[in-house]
Symmetry: C2
C-alpha cells in the first residue's frame, strides 16, 4: 500500500479528472509537470512556479545522479528540501536518458520521429553525429557521462536506489526506451528486458511513501504495446506511464494510447512521458491520460517561441520591434501584465537572461492554464466545447 | 531650473546624506544604482529590484541607441515605460563606451589600471587584442558597433538627443574618457575636448524634467583634475560625475576625489562613475560622493562570486558541495532565506539560469544593505563605527 492514493472525480467518455494525494500535497488531474531536469525549472524559482499554479514538478534521476550526486541530496533530506520545492515531485528513472544518449543519438530521433516526416525508411546516422554512448545488456546499461566521459552503470536496482535517495513522491521503474527506427524484433527483445526490469524495480523498492509507476513500452507495434500494457498493468504498480517512442506521427501516438490505456487498471493514475504540446494534451486526455511532463513550454520559451491562443509566435521576428502590446492581451501572467512584445524582443535580441525567464513564465502560464480549462471541461462535461474553442484559434504545428 | 532638486539632510565631516527629488520619486543618498546596461538589470525583474531596495537604476545610452534604438523607446513613451521601471533612472552618455571600445581596448585597461599592479610603464597592446574601434576628433567620435561592425557617430548633441528620447531623470554630458596609460599631454588635449563638449551638452539640452550632470575628467593628473572640477563646476550643471580612469591604484582614486570634490558646488549631487566595490564605497562616501553605479555586484554574481561579510566566496568551490548553510546566515534576502550554498553551487556547476539570478539577488541585497548602513551611519554620526565594524570582518581584495 502506497502513501499515494488516486481518486477519479469525474469522467467524460474516456477522459477523467482526478485527485492524487501525495505526502507533499494534492494534485488535480489532468496535470502537467514542468520539467526541472537538474532540480530547477530553468530560470524560475519555486515561488514563481507556485504562483503559476504548478502543482507537481518532474526532475531527473540520471542528471541528479551525475550532478550533484544522489547522496548529497539525500544528506540534505531529499530533493524537496534541496531545491526548496515543498510540493509533489516525480523523478524519472534514467531510462529515457539512456535512450537519448544511445539509440536516440545514433538514429538522430526524439520522442516522435516526425522530425523526418517525409521519410519512410530508417535514416542513417547523420554525418558528424556522435555514436551512442550506452551499452545495453540484460542486466542493465553501461553509459558514458555526457559531462566528463566517465563510465557509469544503471540497473533497475541502481535507479530505484537513486530515486529513493532523491525522495520524490512518484518514481518510475527503470526501462529500456526503443527508437522509432528499431524493427519489431529488436523492440520485442527490449520489451522483454523492460518487463523484467519492471519486476526488479518493484523488488528493489523499500520506501512506502513513494508511488512507483510502471512504464509501458513496445514502440509503434500494436501487439507489443498491448502485451506491455497487459504485463505492466498486472505487476502491482501504483500507477503507470506510457513511455518510449510514440511512433512517427501524432496519429501513431493516438493509436498507441488506444491500444494501451484500456488494458491498464482503471483506478490508477496514468502519465504520458515527455509529451505536452497543446494539441497533444487534448488527444491524450480524451484517451484517459492523467499526467504529463514536457520540456516544450520551457524550451520553446528559451528559444523565443511563445504560445498565444492562435499558435506560436517567434519573438525575434522584426515585426515585434515596435509592437507595444503584450504577448497575449488576455493572459494574466506577470509577463503579459507588465511587459510588451517590443521589450521582450529587445531582451532576446540582446541575449538578456530576463527574456528567457519572462518567456518561461508566460509559456507555463499558457499551458498550465490550458490544462486547467481541460480539467474544468471534464468536471462540467464540456470538454468537447473547450477543445472546439481552443482549436477555433489555434494553428497547430504540422504533424 | 531643473525638475530635480537635491537637499543635504546630514553631514559627517565631508560625508553627507541627502535626498534627491526626481519626477519618478525620491532617492536617499548615498545610493548605488544597479546597472541595467540594456534596459534590464541582468536576470532580475523590476519588482525584484524594488524588493531589494534599489531606488535608482542606470542604463546605457550607447547600448540602447544600438539596440533597440532610442526612437523605439521614445515611441513607447520613454525608458521607464519600456522597461517597466517606474522609479528614478539615470543614463550615461556613451563617453565611457567610446573609451572602452577605443583606448580601453587598445591599452587593455579598465576603470582602475590595477590589473597591471606591478608595472610602472604603459603596456603594449596584448597580442591578439583587437585594435580600437573608435576615432575621436574635436567635434565628436566615430565608432564601430560592437554588434555588427556598422559605423556610427556620437557628438554631444547626438548623445543628449538620445538621452532626451530615453527620458531618464538624470542624464550625463558627453565626454572623452582617457586611459590611465595616456600621458599628461594627451590627457590635457582630451580634457579640452571634454570641457568644450560639456558646454555643447548644456546647449543641446531641451528638457527641463531631466537633471544634466557634468563629468569631471583629467586622468590621474592633479592639475588637470583640479582644473576640470573648476571648469565643470562653473558651467551650471544640475550635478556632477567624476569620470574616467581613476588612476592605477585605489590610493589614486582617493587622491582624485580629494582634488576634485572640494572644487564642486556643495549643494549639488556628486556621482562616482563605475565604482561600487564595498571598500571603494566607504572611501568615496567619506570624501563626499552621493551616488554610485557599478556592474561589480551583478557581474560578480554571474561569475559565482558572492559577497559575504568577511569577503567574497567563489560558489564553484568544491568545499561548498555539501554546505547546507545559506551564503550569509545573517542576510535576509530571498536567496539566503530559501537556498543553501550546496544548491547554489549545483546550479552554477550545472550552468543553470536560476543560479545567476539568485546570486544577483544576494549580491545586490548585500551591497544595497551596506550603502543603507552607511547612510544610517552618516545620519546618526556613526559612519566611522559602521566602517570599523565592516572592516573587522571584510578581507578586501588586494589593491
Amino acid at each position: 500500500m502506497s502513501a499515494i492514493t488516486f481518486e477519479v472525480e469525474a469522467e467524460h467518455q474516456t477522459a477523467r479528472a482526478g485527485l492524487l494525494h501525495t505526502p507533499h500535497g494534492d494534485v488535480h488531474t489532468p496535470v502537467l509537470s514542468p520539467v526541472a531536469t537538474q532540480a530547477t525549472v530553468k530560470s524560475l524559482d519555486p515561488d514563481e512556479l507556485r504562483g503559476l499554479g504548478a502543482e507537481i514538478v518532474l526532475a531527473n534521476a540520471y542528471h541528479l545522479y551525475l550532478r550533484p550526486g544522489a547522496d548529497v541530496v539525500a544528506h540534505f533530506g531529499g530533493l524537496h528540501r534541496f531545491m526548496s520545492w515543498n510540493g509533489p515531485l516525480v523523478t524519472d528513472s534514467g531510462g529515457w536518458q539512456v535512450f537519448s544518449l544511445g539509440f536516440g543519438l545514433e538514429h538522430g530521433v526524439g520522442k516522435i520521429a516526425s522530425i523526418f516526416p517525409d521519410e519512410d525508411q530508417p535514416r542513417q546516422r547523420p554525418r558528424g553525429q556522435k555514436p551512442r554512448m550506452t551499452k545495453i545488456d540484460d542486466d542493465g546499461v553501461t553509459f558514458t557521462s555526457h559531462i566528463d566521459g566517465s563510465t557509469h552503470r544503471f540497473t533497475p536496482e541502481v535507479s530505484i536506489g537513486i530515486q529513493e535517495k532523491l525522495g520524490a513522491d512518484l518514481i518510475l521503474a527503470f526501462d529500456e526506451c526503443t527508437s522509432p527506427l528499431h524493427d519489431e524484433r529488436y523492440t520485442a527483445e527490449a520489451l522483454e528486458r523492460t518487463h523484467c526490469w519492471a519486476k526488479r524495480s518493484i523488488q528493489a523498492r523499500s520506501r512506502s511513501d513513494q508511488a512507483l509507476l510502471g512504464i509501458v513500452q513496445g514502440g509503434p507495434f500494436e501487439a507489443l504495446r498491448r502485451e506491455s500494457a497487459q504485463v505492466i498493468g498486472s505487476l502491482g504498480f501504483d500507477g503507470f506511464a506510457i513511455g518510449g517512442s510514440l511512433g512517427r506521427t501524432k496519429n501513431d501516438m493516438r493509436a498507441i494510447l488506444e491500444w494501451t490505456i484500456p488494458a491498464l487498471p482503471a483506478g490508477l493514475p496514468r502519465h504520458l512521458l515527455g509529451i505536452g504540446e497543446p494539441e497533444d494534451i487534448f488527444d491524450a486526455v480524451e484517451r484517459g491520460i492523467d499526467m504529463f511532463d514536457c520540456v516544450a513550454p520551457t524550451r520553446h520559451a528559451r528559444h523565443g517561441v511563445l504560445y498565444t491562443p492562435d499558435g506560436r509566435l517567434m519573438i525575434h521576428n522584426a515585426r515585434f520591434h515596435e509592437d507595444f502590446t503584450p504577448i497575449d492581451p488576455d493572459c494574466g501572467c506577470y509577463t503579459c501584465t507588465t511587459f510588451t512584445r517590443a521589450y521582450l524582443r529587445h531582451l532576446f535580441i540582446a541575449d538578456e537572461l530576463l527574456g528567457y525567464r519572462l518567456a518561461t513564465i508566460h509559456n507555463l502560464a499558457f499551458i498550465l492554464g490550458l490544462v486547467g480549462r481541460i480539467r474544468a471541461g471534464i468536471m462540467s462535461g464540456s470538454l468537447a466545447e473547450v477543445r472546439r474553442e481552443f482549436q477555433a484559434h489555434w494553428r497547430a504545428a504540422p504533424e
